[in-house]
Subunit: 422 residues, 2 copies
């Protein structure tokens, strides 16, 4: 028998206990032994909880220091206290399973060292019920990963789907997401791209062996998107997704989260609502794509239990996918070391010479225009939105050009830019 | 170092050697040791081959009986001889990697017994570069798998995509597939559904622990599809895919391969051309979906090398996903124990009472009609195609009704039926 303690018995913790109870026979057959919850650690052990048939305690040491316990499942969230708990468990050679992406985003290499061969698993930390950690750590191990592109924040994706399908505003979409329980009262962590950044860092370690922190990344939220951007995207065969992107060029890996124009033909464009999807291109496998529920108690717990089964079987894959350092060390690209196609929105006074001057500035920086659209503002008729898409350009050049364009007399507010993934 | 022998150095075998050479540094870092091809077994060792930097022999015993060799990679195909080779390797405690779906379709449980804990891996046998075996064996281990639906034959899918997108005929689509190298000179194995059936049996073992043979399955090819079927599908929001389906109801699992109407909103409907896609619904995970290249030397070899990395790391997952028999034994449903929605095409003389009599026969068997369409034949104007879709019905009832309908005086050829997946 594999005896486990749940540290945190909220939605996911309770679902882990449910799954182990409801699917006991098939899990035992797959794992080769029963997996049983023998203890739960919670803030208030006296509160009555449904479906809890194991003893509760408020002291995490009753999990990490109890000799009968084989594995600790950390489901509290947060970085510092979770680190303390997990460290204590590893010190006592107990296997660890976690769904805690923030912990991994900040401390995964320290944890790898502490684990030192004791199983440390975290399938549930990225993309809920999709076994994406295994796909990258095991299934694509023969490949250099050329790129990862993920829709891995359900809140953003729900909102963008609503903004596209029903043309609701950002504020309305956010309110809906909050009412449905998809967004927190303070939505910054999801809508600002930080949640996706944490998850991407985990995938980037598995793909590239790269130690980076959220601070090293370009992270942009979806708060500045407007009706015009969505109409432009639709007109030219795109949708807009908040993408977490890792791209390898030579020995540099660019890591970023931002809203992106994506061709509607792309599999990643077909991920709608709260679902998650990840596309990964390997140099040998070509593109593979993974789709499923990115959140929800049962889907997330399904992944945590898969980790427990692996531990019961005697898991031997290295925690972060590498048994030793790769000879060819990769490093993180600077935030502005990006080349992309771009979409630009400029609010202008509708006078002669607007397009000519804008185009001249772009041309002077070697940025060539692909399409142009000008739309009069409905309310203020003497103003218009100038919408452009460019061919591939260097981001440093684009930013410089936008600064120049923003300073032109007829430009009414700072130009807005979005990247086009192709 | 993990020393391997390739038994079979064709497209996939050569690609395995290429990948191990080209991606040596990253593979060594992930596996913890170098993986090196030290021998190849081929029919004619004297033929000159590009990129072969290891000794060749015609005698498989030089692979299976050589004490320096740790793992044998079987890439010959076929059942009997491959079984002999693999058996010899396992007897000498050598790990085995294979891409041979026919071998597994017929002999997987014997092989599991022979292996008896020696690693036996076959990621490359289903869906090429998509790590679908791992997803099912490891990632979804906490779940009862409610259904598997796979587009896992690239030849059929290429042809169906062409028939839909360009309205080319079956014969034309087949000729194109043959010219592009996607179909064999004798296409029966692919187009008849047998290749997909072999792959489905492997997935069904991982999901359900079920020992079945191709003979136990309902297998239908795509050869009887016509323009009318495709037009009807388009009109009502469907596409047609050759699906490999496993569905659990109670303790029975239905296993089948046949062309199916699929809603265009379904992820599986978005798998076009030679690509593969598999949707799996777990009782806890919900739907997860996997997409990628289902064939091609490098994609298939990418999966075989992933297996070698796992072996180098000390793989401990059970070959067919179960460490011991599940208490709740499942069994294969009879071929006609199907409930589905159906599409029916009947060629009729265009006279009064045709629809009334057809509808009466269906009603007498409790089959209710969802939509009806009648299309005059262009060439023979006094004939028409009567196209129907039904609500959910029992297949035994439907088959009986079609037999009765086929016997009506105004019916000009045996009615054709396709299942609608919903």
């Amino acid at each position: 028998m594999l005896k486990i303690a749940l540290v945190g018995v909220g939605t996911v913790g309770a679902a882990v206990a449910d799954i182990l109870r409801e699917n006991k026979s098939v899990i035992t057959a797959r794992a080769g032994k029963e997996i049983r919850v023998v203890k739960g650690i919670v803030k208030n052990p006296n509160r009555k909880r449904d479906g809890v048939d194991f003893p509760l305690s408020a002291d995490y040491k009753e999990a990490t220091d109890d000799p009968q316990i084989d594995a600790v499942v950390e489901l509290m969230g947060g970085v510092e206290h979770a680190y303390e708990v997990v460290k204590a468990a590893l010190k006592n050679k107990k296997a660890v399973v976690t769904a805690n992406k923030a912990l991994l985003a900040y401390r995964r290499y320290e944890l790898e060292e502490l684990a030192n061969g004791v199983p440390f698993m975290y399938e549930a930390s990225v993309a809920g019920g999709i076994p994406i950690v295994r796909a990258l750590r095991d299934g694509l191990g023969a490949n250099h990963i050329e790129s990862i592109r993920g829709v891995i924040n359900g809140t953003c994706n729900y909102m963008l789907t609503r903004m596209f399908e029903k043309r609701v505003s950002f504020d309305r979409a956010l309110k809906e997401a909050q009412e449905l329980g998809y967004a927190e009262a303070d939505p910054t962590f999801d809508v600002g791209g930080f949640d996706a950044a944490h998850k991407l860092l985990i995938l980037a370690s598995l793909a590239y062996g790269i130690d980076a922190k959220p601070e090293d990344m370009l992270i942009e939220g979806i708060g500045h998107l407007t009706d015009e951007d969505i109409a432009f995207a639709e007109e030219f065969g795109y949708t807009i997704k908040s993408l977490a992107i890792a791209k390898k060029r030579g020995d540099k890996v660019s890591l970023r989260v931002h809203p992106s124009f994506v061709s509607r033909k792309d599999m990643i464009a077909k991920v709608d609502g709260v679902m998650n999807g990840v596309s990964m291109i390997g140099d040998m496998s070509g593109e593979t794509f993974y789709y499923g529920a990115g959140a929800g108690g049962r889907a997330t717990a399904s992944s945590a239990v898969a980790d427990l089964i692996a531990i019961a079987r005697g898991e031997t894959s290295p925690m972060l996918g590498f048994r030793r350092a790769n000879e060819r060390q990769l490093s993180v690209a600077r935030k502005d070391e990006i080349e992309s196609k771009y979409y630009i929105r400029v609010l202008v006074e509708d006078v002669a010479g607007v397009l000519a001057q804008t185009a001249a500035i772009l041309a002077s920086r070697d940025i060539s225009i692909e399409t142009v659209l000008q739309r009069k503002k409905r309310v203020k008729k003497e103003w218009a939105n100038l919408l452009l898409s460019t061919h591939k350009a260097r981001e440093v050049d684009l930013i410089a050009a936008l600064k120049e364009i923003g300073a032109l007399a007829f430009v009414k507010s700072p130009p807005v830019m979005l990247r086009i993934e192709s």
